[in-house]
């Protein structure tokens, strides 16, 4: 079914376009001068100014591994994050914790834990799925590198970004 759109009937001076052009230019020049005079300011000068200070608490930056207050790596290499990761950015190689280790009763830990930051989409599913509260999305958002290899965060780098998280559920205590 055809829909007939009624065009507005223009007055003769409106047909001249000139009043319309002038009105339009008043708008654009208004913005032009207000930004020149500094009245409007919307752009952040990125490398000099950063929004680190007012990043929201739930900001999803680079995923990282955390240790608990005893220095134990929380990750037990259950590979659920590897499974849930939509772009398959995570690769984990598990290993058994040697019996002479302080945390031998945890039995399992990641031998290698790589997150390919070229692939990572910062969705936060890894954090959500982690049963050990071992992986968190931190506020680091400027992840750069000069090669693909550099963009793969290995275990050392992940713990460096992640640091320590205290006061979480500690299920590997004596009573477990």
């Amino acid at each position: 079914m055809a829909i007939i759109v009624q065009r507005p009937k223009l007055k003769w001076w409106e047909h001249l376009y000139l009043p319309g052009i002038i009105t339009g230019m008043r708008v654009t020049l208004g913005h032009f001068f207000s930004i020149l005079s500094g009245r409007t300011k919307v752009t952040m000068q990125y490398p000099e100014e950063k929004w680190d200070s007012h990043l929201p608490e739930h900001y999803r930056g680079a995923p990282a591994l955390v240790t608990d207050e005893h220095g134990r790596e929380r990750c037990v290499a259950c590979q659920l994050c590897e499974f849930i990761c939509p772009p398959r950015a995570i690769t984990i190689k598990p290993e058994e914790i040697p019996s002479d280790d302080k945390w031998a009763k945890v039995e399992k830990r990641p031998r290698a834990f790589d997150i390919d930051m070229i692939r990572c989409i910062y969705c936060g599913l890894c954090e959500e799925v982690c049963p050990e509260q071992a992986i968190y999305l931190r506020k680091d958002y400027a992840i750069t590198g000069l090669s693909r290899a550099e963009m793969v965060h290995d275990k050392t780098k992940l713990y460096e970004i992640g640091g320590v998280r205290e006061g979480l559920v500690n299920k590997w205590n004596e009573l477990k």
């Binding site: 037990v76 290499a77 259950c78 598990p94 058994e96 009763k105 039995e107 009573l175």
Partner: protein, 570 residues
């Protein structure tokens, strides 16, 4: 339904009437009716002690009228009304009777399951993230389906031994154990090595191995398979890969003539574990440890990945076309009587068929395979350690495989045999050829997947795929035709043996239009009378009986006796 056969009884399961043979376990009747009753301790191949209490269901029989009262009248289908019993019964150990009613749902059974789950989980640790069973754990599954989701247990959990080596291949975590006793019954009833048992009482019960003994028999890893939780784990597979990542391929074991049905678990072209697959005509639910663990060589560093051609003393990399052309040049220059073909009883029927073509095409004077004979173990392992000796007899047409090897050796010694084509066999280690003897040959071609002394002596080395990297059919000791399925991709430029043989035939002037292994099977069905009428799809996962050999599998014979005596369901 009114016409009742003598050996069948009417049973009502969840409101629907079925007919089952009298004396069947309730749990099996439910399973055949398509209703799964959760269970831990019950296993059809083992006796039923009924100790996990997970399979509690509501049961009812027709009311027995009091003396003098009127008997209940059957409805239009001849079924009597059912009077439900106030207490549940275990479905695994009770048998069905006429006009019996079973309810697997409803408040009573659901409350029972919830209670059993809560007690089982009271002492169970929350270490699913590190437990290898996670993902295929009955406790996890039934906890989701029937559990409460929240623990009311505020007391301290009982501490039990963890990470105990109960045998050379098995680790035990007692905290995870739910005392189903499947492993105890398996070692007692199937493996005849009763080393496991429970000690202590109540919530302090632990599974232990008899002091001074260990769980070391060649079937011990089956306990890991039947353990419904992660209490028993395999050292070989421990912490290697989570089960949900792996792709499962149904195939068969090639370590002996029994041809145990197996499932290969692989991820990204790496095999992580092999488990037995139920086939009541071949291996029941079990397989020997020695066969189960014999797969690591597939990804060993010794794998050959590219064709090699000998240049003076050294081998150098060559393209397939160059390597095949080199071999064809050498073979074409020789008379057929100077050529010996040594195939392998580890090859599939399809491969043997095309080997037969090669033999005829070259008019080779000598053909044989290498025999491997060992001691039968009285369970599943056959004396014949080749998986397809029957195929060799049938397809390659050898009367007595392995009998010509000495004649070939003598022929080489006397210079009558100038060239040997050895397919998927290691002549030095497995057939007793010495490198010096092989050195007398003008031309030696080998296709073994691994680098070895035979490959070192070969003029042309063509890497052939290992058993997990190819598809085909094999005939086991009892004459059953079974399918071997490709589980992983072969490394590098490795080709399947039938492709290598096809290329050799073509390069030496023969022709054929075979592009898939299924084409070969079609030709097999057309040319070999025993195969006639069979199709690739008909063989299925469980195989089909092909020929009568009269060979039996001892473990299956004993299982049949136990079924006949009513000990197990089977």
């Amino acid at each position: 339904m009114s016409e009742v056969k003598t050996d069948l009884v009417d049973v009502e399961i969840d409101g629907v009437w079925y007919q089952f043979p009298k004396g069947m376990r309730m749990i099996e009747a439910c399973r055949q009716a398509g209703v799964e009753v959760p269970h831990y301790c019950y296993h059809p191949k083992l006796t039923s002690p009924g100790n996990c209490r997970m399979c509690l269901v509501e049961m009812g029989m027709p009311p027995r009228p009091a003396p003098g009262a009127e008997a209940p009248a059957p409805d239009e289908n001849g079924h009597l009304p059912i009077a439900w019993m106030p207490r549940p019964v275990i479905a695994c150990a009770n048998t069905i009777g006429p006009n019996m009613g079973i309810r697997t749902t409803g408040p009573l059974t659901e409350e029972c399951r919830k209670g059993v789950m809560e007690l089982l989980l009271a002492n169970h640790p929350l270490d699913c993230p590190i437990c290898d069973q996670a993902g295929e754990c009955s406790l996890q599954e039934f906890s989701v389906e029937h559990g409460k989701g929240e623990s009311r247990f505020r007391e301290r959990k009982v501490k039990k031994p963890k990470n105990v080596a109960v045998g050379p291949r098995i680790r035990l975590d007692d905290e995870r154990c739910i005392m189903c006793s499947r492993c105890i019954r398996f070692t007692d009833e199937i493996a005849d090595d009763p080393v496991l048992g429970f000690t202590d009482r109540g919530s302090h019960t632990v599974l232990t191995v008899y002091p001074g003994r260990e769980l070391a028999n060649n079937y011990s890893l089956n306990t890991v398979d039947i353990c419904p939780v992660g209490a028993l784990t395999s050292n070989d597979f421990r912490f290697q890969m989570r089960v949900w990542f792996m792709r499962e391929t149904n195939t068969i074991d090639t370590n002996c003539a029994t041809g145990c049905n197996i499932t290969v678990f692989a991820r990204e072209n790496k095999i992580y574990r092999i488990t037995p697959r139920q086939n009541n005509e071949v291996n029941s639910d079990w397989m020997p440890d020695s066969h189960r663990l014999n797969f690591h060589w597939i990804e060993s560093d010794a794998r050959l990945t590219d064709p090699l051609v000998k240049d003076g003393d050294h081998h150098r990399l060559a393209s397939w076309s160059e390597a095949i052309a080199t071999a064809a040049d050498k073979l074409s220059a020789l008379d057929g009587s100077e050529i010996a073909v040594i195939a392998s009883a580890r090859m599939t029927n399809e491969e043997l068929l095309i080997v037969n073509r090669l033999v005829k095409h070259l008019k080779a004077g000598h053909v044989d395979t290498v025999a491997r004979v060992g001691e039968p173990d009285g369970y599943l392992i056959s004396a014949d350690r080749n998986p397809n000796t029957n195929g060799v007899k049938l397809v390659l047409g050898l009367e007595d495989p392995g009998s010509q090897i000495e004649a070939i050796k003598a022929g080489i010694e006397q210079g009558r045999i100038k060239a040997v084509i050895t397919l998927q066999e290691d002549l030095v280690d497995d057939a007793g050829f010495t490198p010096e003897l092989l050195g007398k040959l003008d031309f030696l071609l080998s296709t073994y997947p691994l680098a070895n002394a035979t490959a070192d002596a070969s003029d042309v080395v063509l890497p052939g795929a290992a058993w997990a990297e190819k598809s085909g059919t094999m005939i086991n000791a009892t004459g059953r035709l079974q399918r071997l399925n490709k589980a992983v991709d072969a490394p590098g430029q490795t080709l399947e043996p039938w492709e290598i043989v096809r290329d050799l035939i073509q390069a030496t002037g023969g022709g054929n239009g075979i592009y898939a292994v299924t084409d070969l099977f079609k030709q097999l069905a057309a040319e070999v009378s025993e195969f006639s009428g069979l199709t690739w799809g008909q063989i299925g996962d469980l195989g089909v009986p092909l020929i009568e050999t009269g060979v039996t599998i001892p473990l299956l014979e004993r299982e049949k006796q136990r079924i006949a005596s009513g000990l197990i369901v089977g």
